[in-house]
Structures are given as C-alpha cells and as structure tokens.
C-alpha cells in the first residue's frame, strides 16, 4: 500500500518536472501520447472489456475536436470567416465530449445490434461518412483545410504561447502549459475507467463479452449496456480529440482517418486488452515510436536519412509497429501490461508460495463456450 503511494508520488513529481527539462518536441510527443492514451482507454472499454470491435474510433475523436473548435470559436469567425458559438473554452470542451457521446448514441441502433466483424466493419462506415461530412460541412468544419483551434482558457489562464509566461526561468509556451492539462485529463480518465471496469458496470461488460445470453438472464440489459459502453467510449474518443486539437492548434479532416482508428486497435492489442494500464502503455508505444525513430534517424544504423533512399524513418516506424503487433500477439498474450503483471507475479510468487496456476489465462476455449 505505502509502496503504491510512494510510486504514485514519484510518478507525479516526475510528470511535473518534465516540462522544465524537456524541449518542445518531447512535450509534444508526450501530449500526443496522452491524447492517444485517453482515446485508447476508451476503445479498450469497448473492444477489450465488452468485446465490441470498433474501427470507427477516429470518428469520435473528430467529433470531439471539431465540436470543441466550433463551440469555442468566436461567433464572428476569424480570417477564414468560420464562425462558432463563442462559448467559454472549458464549457466548449465539456460540450464537445458530450457531443461525441451523442454521436455514439446515434450509432447505438447499430452498436447495440451488431457484434464481431460485422460491427467492426460497420463502424468503418463512420470514418468514411464522418470524413465526408467534415469535408462538406465547410461553414462549421472549414472543409479540407480544417480550422484553427481556439486555445483552452481556465480561470483566465490561457494555454497558448501568448501571453508569455516564464516559470523558474523556463519559458512556458502552449506545450508546457498543456502538459499539465494533459496529465490531469489522463489521470482523471484513467481513474474513471478503472472504477468502471472494477465496478458493477465492468462486470456486466465482461459478461456481455463472454456470454451475452447469460448476461441478459442475470439482469443486464445487454443492448442498452452495449450502447452505453459505445457512448462512453465515444466520449473518451471525444476527450482525446479535444486534447489533440489543443496540441495541434489545428484540426484537419484527413487526420481522423482509417489509419488512426487502426492505430487505436494496435494500441490496445500491444498494451493488453481490457485494462487501463494496457491501453496507456500501448498508446505511449504506438504514438512515440515514429517520433523517436525520425528524431534519431541519423543515429540508428538501419534507418536512412529521408531522401537518401533506403528505409526511411517513417517506413521503419511502420515496419516496427506492424511487427510489434504481430510479436505481441505471438509471444505476449496479455500485451505489455500482461507482461508486466506476469513479471510482478513472478517476483511476488518467489517470495510467497511456489504453488498456483500460471498467470496466463485463456486456456483452450472452455468446452461449454460453444453453444
């Protein structure tokens, strides 16, 4: 217990210290990872815990990002003549998350009825339809070019480069300021999801995944729960969208495409299905990998400078990323989080009794799982 507290405190101190030491590139990479982690927690609730495959997560990020921009932008619009509602930024962010939830809710006739591959591919439609709307609803979305993101403002504190702010001789620009916002949002999102997963809704979700009919008979309103989880996961997507928009300072429709959705699936598989820690680990891995590779492309032996022929950093990142997904599933059934759990168990087991079952679950499919 106290060990846990110490660990948490250490993590907190480290997180706070980061902006004072690392340069913009790292802060930005970290913020991307935080946003990705929030989104991944969301889709892990849906796909990992409830067994509902979704390939449309990027759509909800888009809804979050664009809603925030629209709600927060000045009614008159800026240079591009794109208007908004001019709401206070925190309210706009909150409403944006709710909007993503509503979008998820609108999809619930499908989300509540379909499962497996069918749901997965049906959600693919969200991406394409969503992008169609983003491209065409120009007065709101700015069309192909997207639009600029109004900065977050909390109690008069603006999360942007100006007005200038220097803390302990370190200039605090948008990224430094957003870093703290990101940490807070991620921590909140993670704790919330953990509560959900370990509580009554989590059990219901797991049972829907494992045995839908049994869940219903035990009193779980299955369709409503499915839809509910879909909405919740959409809201996580929406929050991730708001954060990424703030970091980006611009939203463009292209970003919210299929590849982003696939990234999210890769994150939860690599991290470990169904757990919050898994989602976060996977998100950090997937979103940092390409950045690290391109940053250190000159130092890495196999990776060529862009433009010089050979494997470029972007290509290397994708190769590694694909391979990581495969390798995780082949050799780390529980993902990175599962690996960590096993390591932890191995150390505690050595301390305690040597007996007990192996940590890895999923023996063969139970004989009764068939019909």
């Amino acid at each position: 217990m106290s060990k846990k507290v110490i660990l948490c405190c250490a993590a907190l101190v480290a997180a706070v210290a980061v902006p004072f030491y690392l340069e913009g590139f790292w802060l930005q990479a970290g913020l991307f990872a935080m946003s990705a982690a929030i989104g991944a927690i969301g889709i892990n609730l849906l796909t990992g815990a409830t067994g509902q495959l979704s390939m449309g997560h990027a759509f909800f990020l888009a809804v979050g990002a664009y809603s925030y921009v629209y709600f927060a932008a000045e009614p008159e619009g800026g240079a591009h003549g794109l208007g908004g509602l001019g709401l206070p930024a925190p309210l706009a962010a909150l409403l944006a998350v709710l909007a993503a939830g509503v979008a998820g809710g609108l999809f619930s006739p499908i989300a509540g009825r379909l499962k497996g591959a069918y749901l997965g591919i049906a959600t693919l439609a969200l991406i394409f339809l969503g992008q169609h709307v983003l491209f065409n609803a120009e007065p709101v979305t700015g069309g192909y070019n997207g639009r600029a993101v109004p900065p977050m403002e909390l109690f008069g504190f603006v999360f942007a480069d100006s007005p200038e702010l220097v803390v302990a001789q370190v200039p605090f620009g948008a990224l430094e300021r957003l870093w703290f916002l990101g940490i807070a949002l991620l921590a909140g999102a993670a704790l919330f999801a953990r509560g959900v997963l370990r509580g009554r809704p989590g059990r219901a979700m797991n049972t829907i995944r494992d045995h839908e009919i049994a869940a219903g008979v035990m009193g779980v309103p299955v369709a409503r729960y499915r839809a509910g989880v879909f909405v919740l996961s959409s809201m996580y997507g929406g929050l991730a969208g708001v954060l990424i928009a703030l970091v980006f300072q611009r939203t463009v429709p292209d970003y919210f495409g299929l590849l982003l959705s696939l990234d999210y699936l890769a994150m939860i598989v690599i991290g470990g299905l169904g757990s919050v820690a898994g989602a976060v680990t996977g998100a950090v891995f997937i979103s940092m990998l390409p950045q690290l590779l391109s940053r250190y492309s000159d130092a890495l032996p196999l990776v060529a400078e862009p433009g010089s022929g050979g494997v470029t950093p972007a290509e290397a990142a994708r190769l590694l990323y694909g391979a990581a997904v495969v390798v995780t599933v082949l050799f780390l059934p529980g993902g990175l989080a599962g690996l960590a759990a096993r390591l932890r168990q191995a150390t505690t087991r050595r301390a305690a009794s040597p007996a007990g079952h192996p940590a890895s679950l999923s023996p063969s499919p139970a004989p009764d799982a068939r019909n």
Partner: protein
C-alpha cells in the same frame, strides 16, 4: 404428497408461476406445443422428458431468451412472455444453464457479483467516480456474496478465475450465481449432469437446503430420475413439445405413457441407475 412446501417463517412473497398454452416454433419445428403447468409457491417442480422434448426451450421462454409464439406465462401479476431477459431477472427469476455460461476469465467473486447486478445500482458514473454510495453498495453485496459462496461450498475459491476450476465446481458457481440474484423462482437446468455419485448427492443436498432456507420455488430439469423422484413435489413430463403427464413423482413414474416415451422398460424395475 404435498404440492406446496412450507418452510418455517416464509416471509418473502413467492408468487405462483402459471404457464398456459405456451407454444414455441422454430423454422419447421414446434419445440413447445401448448404446454401448461403451474408451479406453486415454494414448491420444487421438476420438468422431465426425452432429449429434445423442449425442457430447455421452456426454461428459455421463462427467462426471456426465447419468445413464445403463443401462450402466457404469469409470475404473480407479471406476464413474462413479453419481457426481455433482464426484466424477468428483475422480477426475481434466476436460472442456471445446461452448458456452463460463466465468464472464464473473471474470478468466482466477480461472477457471483454479476448475480447481484439486478440488486445494485452503481452505474457508469457512480462506479467511475467511486462515489461513496457505490463503495458502500459493493461492500454490502460483497459480504452477501461471501455468505452464498460459503453456503454453496466454494468460499475458498472466490479469487480463482472460473476457467481454472473443475467442472463440478463450476456447476456450483453457476448455482451460486443464480442464488446471488436472491431469486423468488430458481430454474435449474440439469444441475448434476457430468457429476459422479458423490457429487450428485452434494448437489441434491444443496438444492434441498436452498429450498429449506429460502422457501423459494424451484423448477428443475434433470435426467437423473433418482434425484427428481426424491426432490420433486410435482413433475411435468414433456415429449415432442407436448405435456404428456404431470403430477406427484410416484404417479408420474408409473404412467405408462411416461415409461414408453422417457423412462423406457429398463426403468420399470425401479432400480436402474440413471444416466448422467
């Protein structure tokens, strides 16, 4: 034989279950054909019949998994045929499954806590924010779950993932999960299938104990005639979806139609071991 079983100090209201003319059709097959019977409050009512007679189908109708094409099922004032499974569960109807339907990756405790779903309230928000109400609720129900686990004899396994348990223990978990719903009507579909003599005896004891302790109605499907004859107050016999006999066990057992369709000649001498 009495048709109602009156345990001492019955204080929860256990309504009568009335099944009237229930018909279920699947493409080209009538699985239940105008079946009707009544389960008196607090009694143990067995449904028997050959394989494919429609016993599980009947359970599926009672628990809302299948929708009847005709007929009515009344549980007290409620008409069950129009309700979704979770609504029926909310009325206090619990069941076990012929084929185990537990979450293999979840611990026994979590599987049992799922049984408390209908009795608890914590939603996404309460659970996510860990509101005090949710915590109190979880603690209170956790205690009851431990009680029930002890009753069923699986107290030592609460932390074990269900998938790692032997078959017989999983069957007990099924029963415990149903009990966790604090049912007023308990449906047991072949609770002792796949168990050997000793295990069957324990399970039968448990069923009796449940009835004595809680005074609820129990509907039992079983091919183990010994158990049915010993435990049941009333027996309904189905064959090809039709009710072919009903009444006290002794009577039913001698019914020539039942012997022909179900028990077979071998059963007539009354000593035969029944199939598992």
């Amino acid at each position: 034989m009495s048709t109602t079983y009156q345990p001492g100090g019955m204080d929860i209201s256990v309504p009568r279950l009335e099944v009237r003319d229930v018909t279920v059709r699947f493409a080209g097959l009538t699985a239940l054909d105008a079946v009707g019977f009544t389960v008196e409050p607090g009694s143990l009512h067995a449904v028997i019949g050959p394989n494919g007679a429609g016993k599980s189908t009947c359970f599926n109708v009672l628990s809302g998994v299948y929708r009847a094409s005709a007929g009515s099922v009344r549980f007290g004032d409620a008409e069950l045929t129009a309700l979704a499974p979770h609504r029926i569960a909310a009325l206090g109807v619990a069941r076990t499954f012929q084929n185990i339907a537990l979450s293999p990756h979840l611990s026994v405790r979590d599987n049992l806590m799922l049984g408390r779903h209908r009795l608890t309230r914590a939603g996404f928000l309460a659970a996510g924010l860990r509101l005090p109400s949710a915590r109190r609720e979880a603690a209170a129900h956790g205690e009851r779950v431990a009680e029930i686990a002890a009753f069923v004899g699986i107290a030592g396994r609460l932390a074990t993932p269900v998938g790692l348990l032997p078959y017989g223990v999983q069957k007990r978990v099924e029963l415990a999960r149903a009990l966790c719903m604090e049912p007023r009507l308990l449906l047991l579909d072949e609770p002792v299938a796949g168990m050997n003599g000793g295990e069957r005896r324990d399970m039968a004891e448990l069923v009796v104990a449940v009835r004595e302790s809680l005074g609820i109605s129990i509907l039992l499907v079983e091919h183990d005639m010994g158990m049915v004859m010993r435990l049941a107050d009333t027996v309904t016999v189905l064959d090809f979806g039709r009710r072919i006999a009903g009444g006290p066990p002794g009577e039913v057992q001698r019914d020539p139609e039942v012997v022909r369709a179900y028990l077979g000649a071998a059963a007539e001498d009354g000593t035969r071991e029944n199939a598992s």
